[in-house]
């Protein structure tokens, strides 16, 4: 997940923490880029389908808005829980306290070794033996735990990428370890880790489709029930795929814009 590359342009190491090119790079801000082809292609396909064959396609589209809202709800709640969990995990992973460090590392190891689908089943069905929770709660808990671990690694790498000189400068001014972390180090990695965190959030949105197994009425589940009723599997899942595609493409553009906004202090004259 984290790969270290030497950037010939800069002196230090740049740690690239990314899973793939889902966020458009600044060079990609042209009219014709993979991102714009995909987005406008998807939108055009969606409109063409609805315009030419309104009979099944428009019905599918009309059936889905509730599901989109549920998907967003699960995603938003999970992001709210997973980002703080990731930050805490990341700090735990770089902690000098053996107990905290080991706890955080073990959590990451365990979570990363279990598929999210299994975790969702485990929390919703297996744990219901002891504790009855709603499907929304179990969805958010499962996704947050899972992505908290992944984001922990992103935060850890981001904090590690801050040059050691920053810590030394802060310590030499008299800041203690805690103050150094909160005043000097933590405000800095945001722009480095925003792309991978954004990537994780988008991946999370896609993975919320897994919660349809708990009969959560999300986008995927709405599609499934529509398809089950009408047997229009091809039409339904085409629309579902297009809608997921449009949402993730728009979000990735949003992350890309935020990223450039966060670069404010690195602009040369």
């Amino acid at each position: 997940m984290a790969e270290e590359i030497k950037d010939p342009e800069s002196k230090g190491n740049i740690v690239l923490v990314t899973e793939g090119p889902s966020i458009p790079s600044p060079e990609g801000r042209r009219i014709v880029s993979a991102w714009s082809i995909a987005l406008f292609g998807a939108i055009a396909t969606l409109f063409t389908l609805c315009a030419v064959w309104p009979e099944p396609y428009l019905d599918v589209v009309a059936f889905l808005p509730d599901g989109i809202l549920t998907t967003f709800e699960v995603t938003a709640l999970s992001i709210c829980c997973a980002v703080p969990m990731g930050l805490i995990t990341g700090l735990g992973r770089i902690s000098r306290n053996t107990f905290i460090n080991l706890t955080a590392s073990t959590y990451v190891e365990i979570i990363r070794g279990i598929p999210l689908l299994v975790q969702i089943f485990y929390i919703y069905y297996a744990l219901s033996k002891f504790l009855q929770v709603s499907s929304l709660t179990s969805a958010v808990v499962a996704i947050s735990f899972c992505y908290g671990a992944y984001m922990g690694e992103v935060f850890r790498a981001g904090i590690h990428a801050i040059p050691k000189g920053q810590t030394e400068a802060a310590r030499s001014l008299g800041f203690n370890r805690f103050q150094t972390m909160f005043y000097v180090i933590l405000p800095q990695p945001w722009r480095t880790i925003l792309p991978p965190v954004g990537n994780e959030c988008i991946a999370m949105l896609k993975d919320t489709s897994l919660v349809s197994v708990m009969a959560m009425p999300d986008l995927m589940q709405r599609g499934r029930s529509f398809a089950a009723k009408t047997y229009l599997y091809f039409e339904t899942y085409t629309i579902i795929a297009l809608i997921y595609l449009i949402i993730t493409l728009v979000l990735s553009k949003g992350v890309s814009i935020m990223e450039s906004k966060l670069n404010y202090y690195d602009r040369k004259k």
Partner: protein
């Protein structure tokens, strides 16, 4: 406190001039029998130095000779394996972290790579530590910061980010940032080594001014001109040992140690 024998030892390394000069009873920095290892490598070998208040020490030597390690040991950016280091009477090799932070507030440090905080403007770089650590009022801290920026000659850059400054300007900001805590001692770790040649002068000027103001200074540098004109004492190190410690006049004009002669031949 260090006992007399350690102090004596500190002066053994060739400073005859120090004996007749009037000497304050307590040196502000005392390193006594300091050893440091990096794995099998001996980084510091039985280093003994006593620095008086207002004294200007310049440390020279080939790269890898332990100069920076010695300087960094003074504010415990490097821990040492044996020996004691006293700053104004506090043994920083044994003191607690809270005490250490207090000692460090009194020790300004300037790094080769500036290490300004890139996410803060120049002004915030200077006011952050006084506000958070000395609990100064924001307006007071800003007044002090602006005065310091004026002193280092870049008052017009208060509201820009460090990345927009040249290396020389960044290093002058770094000096001002260290001074904002009003330290009594300033440590310089090769402050001009990362600079383009035409920017070395502007940084050295700031340091000369500081020396003239009576700041206690320890400076690791390759600028022999600076060592000659500013230093009260020059320390020559090689392989982690202090081989010669004397006035700049004697170091540069009548070096005794063969290694020092060889070193000076190479660089001058």
């Amino acid at each position: 406190m260090p006992d007399e024998s350690q102090l004596e030892h500190g002066q053994d390394c060739g400073n005859q001039q120090g004996k007749d000069a009037p000497r304050s009873p307590e040196p502000v920095i005392v390193m006594s029998h300091v050893w440091k290892y990096f794995g099998p490598l001996v980084a510091l070998q039985d280093v003994n130095v006593a620095v008086q208040a207002k004294e200007r020490i310049v440390i020279i030597g080939p790269s890898g000779s332990g100069k920076s390690t010695m300087l960094r040991a003074i504010n415990r950016l490097e821990t040492v394996d044996r020996g004691s280091i006293f700053i104004n009477g506090t043994d920083i090799t044994k003191c607690r972290d809270s005490e250490l932070n207090h000692v460090r507030q009194n020790l300004g440090m300037v790094f080769q790579s500036f290490n300004l905080f890139p996410h803060k403007t120049v002004l915030h770089n200077l006011t952050m530590a006084p506000i958070k650590l000395l609990h100064m009022k924001k307006s007071d801290a800003e007044d002090r910061a602006l005065a310091l920026l004026k002193k280092v000659g870049i008052s017009d850059k208060a509201n820009v980010y460090p990345s927009m400054l040249s290396g020389g300007q960044q290093q002058r900001v770094a000096i001002a940032r260290a001074l904002a805590m009003q330290p009594s001692i300033m440590l310089f770790d090769e402050p001009t080594s990362a600079l383009d040649p035409e920017m070395v002068g502007e940084v050295l000027d700031v340091m000369v001014n500081l020396a003239e103001d009576g700041m206690t200074m320890c400076c690791v540098t390759h600028e022999m001109g600076f060592a000659r004109t500013v230093a009260d004492r020059v320390i020559f190190m090689d392989h982690g040992q202090i081989l010669e410690m004397d006035t700049p006049d004697r170091i540069f004009n009548s070096p005794r140690h063969p290694r020092l002669r060889q070193f000076l031949d190479q660089i001058l």
